[in-house]
């Protein structure tokens, strides 16, 4: 981990120690190797038990379906934004076990059950603000490769080199803390108490 300007930057390969230091509410930026995986990649690895196409240990994985386009014989990432993790959250712990990935980036948070499973594996789940595809793309230095392209471009597993991708907000930490569920519990309590007053 290093600090660039006032940014806390974490680089791959990610060590267990660095991830263990992260707490719910911490904000950081990621530099290094990032793989994208959404619904179908999770299905292949966890449900179909296919071998991951590359060794992802030490990588960060992002729930994202990027837009990548060839320009002058090189591939450029035109959009890299987070997608809703909850759609396939039940597959996240299995994905982490099968791939060795311990930093998962998505949006919208995950349930308490999933958060506990992520914590048990010593993992961290961070939110990259949704709808920020241009911001995400601006931190992609290089498109390194693509696997399982038969799933379609958005669903394929892309490997990207990123520089200071963020802000990334820790929403589940290795102690099992869960930012979004805490916010929702408070909101539910405030909603029902205001109804009682009326």
């Amino acid at each position: 981990m290093s600090t660039v300007g006032n940014k806390r930057v974490i680089s791959t390969p990610l060590s267990d120690e660095v991830l263990r230091d992260l707490r719910v509410g911490d904000v950081f930026y990621l530099t290094g190797l990032l793989a994208t995986a959404r619904d179908r990649v999770h299905e292949r690895i966890v449900v179909w038990r296919l071998k991951p196409p590359i060794d992802l240990r030490g990588y960060a994985v992002m729930h994202a379906g990027p837009i990548v386009a060839p320009r002058a014989s090189k591939l450029y990432c035109l959009s890299l934004g987070s997608t809703t993790s909850a759609r396939f959250e039940k597959l996240i712990p299995g994905f982490m076990e099968a791939t060795g990935v311990r930093l998962v980036i998505g949006k919208g948070g995950v349930s308490r059950d999933t958060a506990r499973s992520i914590a048990k594996l010593g993992g961290v789940y961070a939110v990259f603000p949704g709808g920020c595809g241009a911001l995400g793309a601006s931190s992609v230095d290089e498109v390194l490769g693509v696997y399982w392209e038969d799933l379609g471009s958005a669903e394929a597993l892309w490997v990207l080199r990123v520089r200071e991708l963020g802000p990334l907000i820790v929403a589940v930490d290795s102690e099992g803390g869960n930012l979004v569920e805490d916010v929702l519990d408070a909101a539910r309590a405030s909603a029902s108490s205001s109804r009682r007053v009326e």
Binding site: G65, L78, A154
Partner: protein, 298 residues
């Protein structure tokens, strides 16, 4: 004079790119206001990321979001506009061209097989609705809204007994936010439509999203409901990206059609913070000019 269909198609593609890459001024101002009011550190970080993303997207002409959504066109046709059929066909072609050039993501799937559809077979992509005719006019007005899948997912429509108190609708919206829409990238913009059937209410809920943020209904009692909804939903504290904060919604708009004595239909259309919409006038010489949207066809 023969219409220059090629020029019209290019202008519509340009309109699509504008909608996908440039956040409307009213939405950007609402985000800036929310950022200046916000007290929570994380909420501020999220709102500033949205604004930074908005600037990068506009400067580099990149999509604001990788999900460029479902293109939905709402059209008001001048009675004397000569190329009604050409216009509708050109909108479809322009969307296909925009997809082929990578300005829009291929978001059309067969609901039965789950496979990606060839664009020529993708019914409802784009969705085109003739919202009305304009008396004595020789122009057409087009509103394009790009509806992201994440925000479409928690949206809903249903029918109620006409005696149902309006507070029940507030409760339903609150429940939808706490169950699903908190994942649809708040602060949300919410369009509520009332009518007799689910399709009538759904249409009005979409028209409600076209109205500029901060502009209240012309009917005072509806304006008051809108204000009350904004206030009560922002008391939830869900905040941007559900990290906690003051801005859970940017605005709520309510549009109403007639209800039926035995059926009150309610539809709620959610939009993520990146409410991507653009409005344009097509002249009888097929020049396309972006114009601000006010109410309906005004």
């Amino acid at each position: 004079m023969q219409p220059d269909r090629r020029k019209l198609e290019e202008s519509i593609v340009e309109l699509i790119v504008e909608a996908s890459t440039s956040l409307p001024g009213d939405v950007k101002e609402a985000l800036e206001r929310a950022a200046s009011r916000e007290e929570s550190r994380l909420a501020k970080i999220v709102l500033n990321a949205y604004l930074e993303n908005t600037n990068i997207a506009k400067r580099a002409r990149l999509p604001l979001c990788q999900d460029t959504g479902i293109p939905e066109f709402y059209i008001w046709l001048g009675e004397l506009f000569p190329y009604k059929e050409d216009l509708v066909k050109t909108l479809v072609r322009a969307v296909h061209t925009a997809v082929e050039h990578g300005y829009l993501r291929r978001n059309a799937y067969d609901p039965i097989t789950g496979r990606e559809l060839e664009l020529s077979k993708a019914e409802g992509f784009p969705f085109i609705h003739i919202a009305g005719l304009i008396e004595g006019s020789d122009e057409a007005l087009i509103s394009l809204i790009l509806t992201g899948g994440g925000a479409a997912r928690p949206s809903f429509a249903l029918t109620l007994d006409p005696l149902t108190p309006l507070s029940k609708i507030t409760d339903m919206i609150e429940k939808a936010i706490l169950e699903k829409a908190f994942r649809a990238c708040p602060p949300l913009v919410i369009g509520v439509g009332l009518g007799s059937t689910i399709e009538v209410s759904a249409l009005y809920s979409k028209l409600a999203l076209l109205r500029p943020l901060g502009l209240r209904s012309k009917r005072r009692e509806i304006a008051e409901i809108e204000e009350a909804l904004v206030e009560s939903l922002n008391r939830l504290g869900v905040g941007p990206q559900s990290v906690g904060g003051l801005a859970t919604v940017l605005d709520v708009h309510l549009e109403v059609g007639a209800s039926h004595p035995s059926s009150l239909a309610v539809a709620v259309s959610f939009s993520c913070w990146a409410l991507r919409r653009v409005r344009a006038r097509v002249s009888r010489s097929l020049d396309v000019e972006v114009i601000p949207y006010v109410y309906g066809r005004e």
